[in-house]
C-alpha cells in the first residue's frame, strides 16, 4: 500500500497515559486494518479459552411460539436461537431481552440459563430499540467518515454522544482535518449512499470485551480513543478480575469503542441521510472538531418521503447533545 505523507503537522496537545504512535505515514485504511487484525487475534484467543462445550437451557418466550432450546454456553447467540425458530424473528429482531431485565445484543454469546425475548422496532414500548438503533447509526457514521474520504486526508474519530431523540439527529464527533469544509447537498448525498451500500452488504455487529492492554494496542494510532480508554473501563461480569472495555466490530470492516448494545445487522437500516456538518469546540482535547449529523429510521418503519424530509429539516440544525469530555474515571458517561 502506498504510504502518503500527511500534509498537516501532528501535535499532541493533551496528556495521555500511553503514547500514541505517529500516524503521519499511515492512511485511514491501514489503521483500520491494524485495528481489525488485533480484534481478530483477541477474538481467536477468547474462543480458544473455551475448552469444553457446555450446554445451557434457553426458554424462548415469543408471542408466536415459545420453546425451550438447548444451546452452547459462550458460543450460541440469540440470533442462533432465532434461526431455530423462524426467519421472521431473524430479520426483524434487533435486540434480545434476557430474564426480562437485561438488554442483550443479538450477536453476543449467551452465558447462562435464562428466558429470552426478541425485541423489534414496531412494538408498543421500543425506547431501548430506538436508542440502540441510533447508537448503531452513530457507529456507522464513524465507519463512513473513515472510508469515504480520499487517502490523502486523515480523519481522526473522537467519539459520539449518547442517542437523544430531542436533539433531532444522531452525530459523530471527529477531527476531519479538512479546514473549513462546507459539504454541499451532493456531498451529503454521496455520504448517505455509502450507508445504503452497507445495508445491502448485511453486516453483523459483534461485541468483544477486551482488557486495557489489548485496547491500547488496538487503538495505538488513534490519539482520541487512547485518551478515552482509561475512562471507559468497567467490570463487565461479576466474575471478572480486571476491568474490560466493550468493543464492537461491524462485519469485517470497522472497529469502535461503544458501551451500549447495537442492533443485529445493517440490513435493518431503512432511510439514512446525512443532514449537516457543524464545527464544535471541544475543551477537553483543546481542539475544534466537526460534528457530523445524520437522520435514520429502521426499515420496518415505512415513512413517506415527505414526512422524512420534514424530519430531515430538523436534523440539519446543530445537535446540542454533550460534547466529548474527558471526565473522571468513574463518572465518565460520554460514550454509550
Amino acid at each position: 500500500m502506498m504510504k502518503i505523507r500527511s500534509c498537516l503537522t501532528f501535535s499532541r496537545r493533551f496528556q495521555s497515559t500511553s503514547s500514541a504512535q505517529s500516524r503521519n505515514h499511515l492512511t485511514n485504511d491501514e489503521i483500520r486494518a491494524h485495528r481489525l487484525r488485533i480484534f481478530n487475534n483477541e477474538r481467536q484467543v477468547q474462543i480458544e479459552r473455551i475448552r469444553r462445550v457446555e450446554k445451557i437451557e434457553i426458554d424462548v418466550q415469543d408471542p408466536i411460539q415459545s420453546t425451550k432450546l438447548l444451546m452452547n454456553k459462550n458460543l450460541s447467540t440469540p440470533l442462533h436461537c432465532a434461526r431455530h425458530l423462524s426467519s421472521v424473528l431473524v430479520d426483524r429482531s434487533c435486540l434480545a431481552l434476557i430474564d426480562d431485565q437485561h438488554i442483550w445484543d443479538m450477536n453476543r454469546p449467551l452465558e447462562r440459563d435464562c428466558t429470552l425475548k426478541f425485541l423489534h422496532f414496531m412494538e408498543e414500548n421500543c425506547e431501548e430499540q430506538n436508542r440502540a438503533y441510533w447508537r448503531t447509526c452513530s457507529f456507522i457514521i464513524g465507519y463512513i467518515l473513515e472510508t469515504a474520504f480520499k487517502s490523502t486526508y486523515h480523519v481522526e474519530l473522537c467519539s459520539f454522544p449518547p442517542p437523544q431523540f430531542q436533539a433531532g439527529s444522531f452525530a459523530y464527533d471527529a477531527q476531519l482535518n479538512l479546514g473549513d469544509w462546507k459539504p454541499t447537498r451532493d456531498d451529503l448525498r454521496c455520504l448517505s449512499i455509502q450507508a445504503y451500500k452497507l445495508r445491502d452488504r448485511d453486516l453483523r455487529f459483534e461485541r468483544l470485551d477486551v482488557t486495557q492492554s489489548v485496547a491500547e494496542e488496538m487503538f495505538a494510532y488513534d490519539r482520541f480513543k487512547l485518551a478515552q480508554i482509561p475512562h471507559m473501563l468497567r467490570l463487565v461480569t461479576p466474575t471478572d478480575t480486571q476491568p474490560r472495555l466493550s468493543v464492537y466490530r461491524m462485519g469485517d470492516c470497522h472497529v469502535d469503542i461503544t458501551r451500549g448494545p447495537l442492533i443485529s445487522s445493517t440490513k435493518q437500516i431503512g432511510r439514512f441521510e446525512f443532514s449537516a456538518v457543524h464545527p464544535i469546540d471541544v475543551p477537553s482535547y483543546n481542539e475544534t472538531m466537526h460534528r457530523v449529523q445524520a437522520l435514520s429510521i429502521p426499515a420496518q418503519l415505512h415513512l413517506h418521503y415527505w414526512t422524512f424530509d420534514y424530519l430531515l429539516e430538523r436534523a440539519k440544525k446543530k445537535n446540542n447533545a454533550s460534547v466529548p469530555t474527558l471526565g473522571k474515571a468513574k463518572t465518565a458517561e460520554k460514550l454509550e
Binding site: 418503519l301 415505512h302 413517506h304 415527505w306 414526512t307 420534514y310
Partner: protein
C-alpha cells in the same frame, strides 16, 4: 380505383398507429389519390386515440397511501404541518407579478380556461317565466402551475386529446392549470416536484390550455369563477359518462325488433343487416355494439347564468353537460362565431384573468340580466304597458291609417 392502391389504403386506415402520437401527422400522406374526407378523419381519430388517455412522458402521479403506523399525536401533528406549509397565500417568488397583456380582437386573443368539477343540476327561471335547467360547476382550488412559451413547444409531436388548430401552431403558449389541492403524501416525489416552482400545494388534476402570449398568467396565480362574467358563453369539454359495453339500441338508438309477443325468434335488440348484398365486406364505421361513453365531448355555447363568488361556482345552461357528478371539466370562452362577435376591445371578460383587488369585495351572487331573481320584488303589471282594448284592424284599415 386501382385494386392494388385500394388494398394499400384500407391497410393504412385500419392498422395500429406508429409511435408518433400526434394526430396532425397523417401516415399515408404520401398516397394522395385517396381523398380523406371529414368522416374518414373522424373515424381514424376515433380509432387512434381511443385507448390512450395520457402521454408516456408524464410523471407517475400517485404514491404513498400506505399506513405509516404513526402514533395518533404524530398523525395530527403531520396534518398540521401539511396545512401550515401551504397556509400563506403570498407567492414565495422573489420577482414581481408579470405584466398584463392587452386584449386584442384583430390578432385574436385566447384566454386561459379553467378546471371545474361538475356538481349536479338545478332548475332556474328566466324573466319570461320559462323554466330551464342549469349545471352547477365548482372551480375548485384552481392555480396556474406552469407556462411554456410557443418557442419551447414542439407542435409536431404534441400530445393533445383534441387536435390544435393548424393556424395556431407556433403562435400559442401552453399554460398548465391544476385543480383540487391535496396532501403531498398521496403523490410521488416527481409529481410533487412539478408544483415547487409555483409554490402551490400539489393538485389532483392537471390540464393544459393553449393561450396567446399576451394572455399569460404567472405560475402560482389562483383562478376564480369570476374569470367569466354572467351572460358570457363558454365551451365545456369533459369525459362523458361511461356506459360500458352497450348494444346498438342504446348506443345509436336503433329500433331493434319486435317483442316475443309477435313470435320474433332471437331478434329483439339486434342490429340486423351489416352491409349490402353486393359489397362483400362490412364498411368501416359500421355502427355496432361496443364501448359507449367515456370519451371527450365538447359542448359549445353554454351560457353562464349565475356565479357564486364565495364557493366559486358557475351555473351553466343545460342539464346535459358531459360527465357524471364530481367529474372534471375544462371550461373555456366560447369559439362560436356569433358569441365571439359580441366580444370587443372594450367589452371583454377579465383579461388575462380576474385578480381580486384589495378592499373591493364582490357580492356573493352574481346574476345574468335575464334570469329571474326570487329575492327581488316580483314583476308587477305597473311595469308592463297594456295596449287599450280595440277591435281588430284589417290590413286595409291599417294602410288607410298610415296615409
Amino acid at each position: 380505383m386501382n385494386r392494388a392502391l385500394q388494398t394499400i389504403c384500407t391497410r393504412f386506415l385500419t392498422r395500429p398507429l406508429l409511435p408518433v402520437s400526434s394526430v396532425n401527422f397523417i401516415p399515408c400522406a404520401g398516397i394522395r389519390h385517396h381523398k380523406l374526407t371529414d368522416q374518414h378523419m373522424r373515424l381514424r381519430y376515433k380509432k387512434l386515440h381511443w385507448h390512450k388517455f395520457y402521454d408516456d412522458k408524464w410523471v407517475q402521479r400517485r404514491g404513498g397511501g400506505w399506513d405509516e403506523k404513526l402514533t395518533p399525536e404524530n398523525i395530527s401533528f403531520m396534518q398540521e404541518v401539511v396545512h401550515d406549509t401551504y397556509a400563506n397565500e403570498e407567492s414565495p417568488l422573489k420577482d414581481g407579478p408579470w405584466k398584463h397583456g392587452e386584449y386584442t380582437t384583430n390578432p385574436e386573443t385566447i384566454r386561459t380556461g379553467v378546471l371545474g368539477l361538475k356538481l349536479g343540476t338545478l332548475p332556474q327561471w328566466n324573466k319570461k317565466g320559462q323554466k330551464f335547467y342549469v349545471t352547477v360547476v365548482q372551480i375548485i382550488d384552481n392555480h396556474v402551475i406552469n407556462y411554456t412559451p410557443p418557442e419551447m413547444i414542439n407542435f409536431r409531436t404534441l400530445f393533445t386529446t383534441r387536435p390544435l388548430r393548424r393556424d395556431l401552431h407556433g403562435k400559442v403558449g401552453m399554460l398548465v392549470v391544476g385543480a383540487l389541492s391535496c396532501d403531498p403524501r398521496k403523490f410521488t416525489r416527481a409529481y410533487n416536484g412539478l408544483f415547487e416552482q409555483a409554490g402551490v400545494p400539489p393538485k389532483r388534476k392537471l390540464t393544459r390550455f393553449f393561450v396567446t402570449p399576451n394572455s399569460v398568467i404567472k405560475p402560482g396565480t389562483p383562478l376564480y369563477a369570476t374569470h367569466f362574467r354572467c351572460g358570457d358563453y363558454v365551451d365545456v369539454q369533459a369525459r362523458s359518462i361511461d356506459y360500458g359495453f352497450q348494444g346498438v339500441m342504446r348506443r345509436y338508438g336503433f329500433r331493434g325488433g319486435p317483442s316475443d309477443k309477435y313470435g320474433a325468434t332471437k331478434f329483439h335488440r339486434k342490429r340486423g343487416t351489416v352491409g349490402s348484398g353486393r359489397k362483400h365486406r362490412i364498411l368501416p364505421g359500421t355502427r355496432m355494439a361496443g364501448l359507449m361513453g367515456n370519451k371527450l365531448v365538447m359542448m359549445k355555447g353554454l351560457k353562464v347564468w349565475r356565479i357564486n363568488t364565495k364557493y366559486n361556482i358557475l351555473y351553466l345552461m343545460g342539464p346535459a353537460v358531459p360527465g357524471p357528478n364530481h367529474g372534471y371539466m375544462r371550461i373555456q370562452d366560447s369559439t362560436l362565431y356569433e358569441r365571439k362577435q359580441k366580444i370587443t376591445n372594450e367589452n371583454h371578460p377579465p383579461f388575462p384573468t380576474y385578480f381580486p383587488e384589495n378592499g373591493k369585495v364582490l357580492e356573493e351572487e352574481l346574476f345574468a340580466d335575464d334570469i329571474y331573481r326570487f329575492d327581488q320584488p316580483t314583476l308587477t303589471l305597473d311595469d308592463v304597458q297594456i295596449a287599450p282594448l280595440t277591435s281588430r284592424r284589417t290590413a286595409a284599415k291599417t294602410a288607410q291609417k298610415k296615409k
